[in-house]
Symmetry: D4
Subunit: 163 residues, 8 copies
């Protein structure tokens, strides 16, 4: 499993749905685990250790509010860690964003935008990282980028016909 | 040592100076350690374990930016954990405040205001907690509260004479 | 009654529901009162006095917007005061959070996260404080912490089976 | 003394300097007192009572951070209360502003802008309120308003000559 | 008409409903007008002039987003002007609050909290200002304050019986 | 004078210095006036009227805090109005930005970024608008854009040589 | 086509509906295209080139979150570029607003308020800019401004009759 | 050159100083270029193309305010792009952070914290990404992580001796 995705609670499954689909579309093996930096700290460290042992190249941590999950994972590995701040509660994810991104010197977390879009992008960044040693993935990424642009053009046509 | 104070870097000594003086004034034994949730995660957990073994009743964690120190300590102990968000960088401590206070259900961190004032108040809250089982401390707290009010009155006199 | 919970209006009952359940689960005696720092200031001070006389060890104040309730209680007691900022209106609880946490030197309020999660954590922090003199509570807290971690593992199993 | 100005600490004297000068310029009798909503709550209430007994028509409360002073004063009087949020610390006065302005239904605080400008405007608003029953003050306010506009014109001349 | 209430659009009627009821309850004559600082600037100035001519003692301006209505009114009168920031759109009223409260030196706007609560408090502050020359209103305000406190006590009883 | 620049106080001269230099560099005639939406509202309207009469095509309004100047100008003209929010005080210009940009439907203010950069860009946008009917200005703008890009390349060379 | 409107996705059609109606009401020819600064960067540049070739005088860019569309367009043209920040997600459009307005020296984007109101105002600003060389549009703008004011007066009548 | 670092102006050299030192310490070949998303958009795209042709595996983009540099680079490559938001002006880097991180679906930018710390971490993340195909770098990263923890312990000793 090249990518390990850690979510803080079962309800975060909805948020990572597109991320999982993205990894599947690129044929990237992944594992999905629920764990919490605060409620199950030992399990979190153990998952990082197990992941490293089983060949995980990239970790994705999805968490809200005082979102420490990415930071805790990054504290225990030298693999790239991608953090996704969940939007929840009255502060709209600003708390999770700042808790994820403002890491101290020496321990980076590659932070994505908030919510589902951020989670989908986390999967894509993971693929981009894996592509550093996998020319096949890089080709697929180029094709994906082409489809993104083509989709925009198709959208524009539809809009113009609809007017 | 009833209280263990954890700071993220030697430069935080300035921020906790009044906190240490407060604990000394109340004759509360304490330990001061530098540790980081991210750069020295094992040491942090070990300090919590050692603190518990040596009778620490309250932990105080002082950290800035993506301030996870309080949360990591709280993940490993059932003792009360007090968090002090440090003001640093362009966001003025809002990042540290939200990273400290917005903890998930089950793992509270008693959050103080930002900076030196928050650190001094952390010491005082630690004394208030210890006073739950120490009538002597409670008496001293009542005297301290009296002096706070008297000081305000003295300040007012000085201001009026200065006009 | 070891804990006195003060809420600003009957509608805050919903917010403290899990907090009350937590205190019951730990067999901690508590009182629940409605009072307002601004609309019933004398009643608020009187409740603090009565609480102290009847053995209250920890106060919990739940309030929104310009949330002064925790501060007013802390001004009149040397017992630990826990503040819970309510999320309400367009500012999403940022107003209540800053009004609760940014206390001046000498008068700390142990601030929790916003909303129901913060309220539930306030109850837990109160138990942690009472455990300073009650070994039975500390044992229960350790069991609770164990169940938190076990629940995460169970959640993870369910998620993996659901995929 | 028609106006009572309450400041939280001697250092706030600098912030209210122009406010005092404004009141003197309008020949409005005033008192200046140092008091704190949190460190000297009884003194604060007593000052409000004394002020009302001695004919205070308007209270001005100047405070920073979790700025409760205006709210506490408003809780104890039916006279108009003007709040001035002090800019201090990393949050730039946003904490004091929200703590002052977001009052619950039934207890308004007339909030000014942050810092010295807000304090000077508090004095002016106090004069506007007193002018409700004092035609002489209303005339002076009209003259003051005329001078404000004339000053702008003079400033513009100077700028144009300086180019 | 002692009080003139200016709202930016018919939809703001909902926001000022309790404010109008408050003024009626205190038997304070008032006028309600729709006007906009930006769409009908001449009408706004004319309303201020007419209000002054007809004895308006206090103006209340209710506006959202770049809320200039209070500022424009204050630019043209020496009567006290109360500003109510409306919560609207994604910024939750923070835009309206800052646009209303951060007035320059010389032109204060007495700013209330956001939304309906702020509007109701604006009416109450207007009554407090009128009470400076009307002892009957001051008596009614004292009774109102008494009822506020009594209501809290009644609420508390109900909550305790409901448990 | 094709462009009229309105600043709120003589101290804003520093902020518009580069803006004036930009207009001079493009040979665009302009006038600079000090005026205030709040302290000199009649003068502000009169300046707009005079500007329109004398052929002003674009207005630039520079103001801080509750920055209403752009909005007031836009209320009285159908010419394009450019607003520049000044950074001042603890809120760093966020107040001025929101007060300038969040205009109601029907009365746009073309808002620039905060401070000196925003002011310089206001001058450039004014030139872009005038270029709609002035092919000479459009040519100069294209040359200016070319120089911007060339400057970046030169900067890069210098940096590489300095390493 | 005098105006080219660029939207980031088909779903933004709802946001620009009133903007299109405004341009139609002023008989201003326009084109509407879907394009993305990030997903279709080449198409975006090509649209700017094509627009310039076909006589576009003003570009309007509508985008949310890290809203770069206005900036990318402005990087490639010397025509005025109007940016409209879309409100989306938990940050309520603050992200899109700051991403649009805080442009570097040399490349202004005329930023409107957030959401539909901002989009409608973008259309109006475009008309104001075109009116620099089109006296007929200026007359229509004056009539439009008159109708805005008249509508306010009519609204006020309705509100007063409804009381 | 495995890593290409793009900065917006020569003054950003100070911000990336530690980042360059980090890359040198890990013996990672890199190029440093000045370019701007807005002032030199063609040069930016050309640098990305050249970088890809010459084997760049990771891009680092450092920019402030409406920080589009990372986004523009990511729009033109499938290599991982790391964004560093610069703290500048009154908003303290919040503008740059949101402009960098809130990318749309399909085009991720791996965002670091603000300022020098974020830049140093960008270099480290780049090394982590390169380590995916370079076991030597992974070993060095593990050693680096060990030194980080050892340094904390040494700091703690010094602090304790200084007391």
């Amino acid at each position: 499993m090249d990518v390990m995705i850690l979510i803080g609670s079962p309800s975060d499954q909805e948020i990572v749905k597109d991320a999982l689909d993205t990894l599947k579309a690129f044929d990237v093996p992944f594992a999905l685990e629920v764990t919490s930096a605060h409620r199950s700290p030992d399990r979190t460290v153990e998952l990082v250790r197990r992941g490293e042992a089983e060949g995980t190249e990239v970790f994705i941590a999805v968490a809200g509010k005082a979102a420490h999950l990415g930071g805790v994972v990054a504290a225990h590995t030298t693999r790239p860690v991608i953090g996704v701040p969940v939007e929840s509660g009255g502060l709209g994810g600003l708390d999770a964003l700042l808790s994820t991104v403002q890491m101290p010197r020496g321990v980076p977390v590659a932070t994505m935008g908030t919510g589902k879009t951020g989670a989908a992008n986390a999967a894509l960044l993971a693929v981009q990282i894996l592509a550093v040693k996998n020319a096949g993935l890089r080709r697929k990424l180029a094709e994906f980028k082409g489809r993104l642009a083509a989709q925009v053009e198709a959208d524009s046509e539809k809009v113009k016909q609809g007017q």
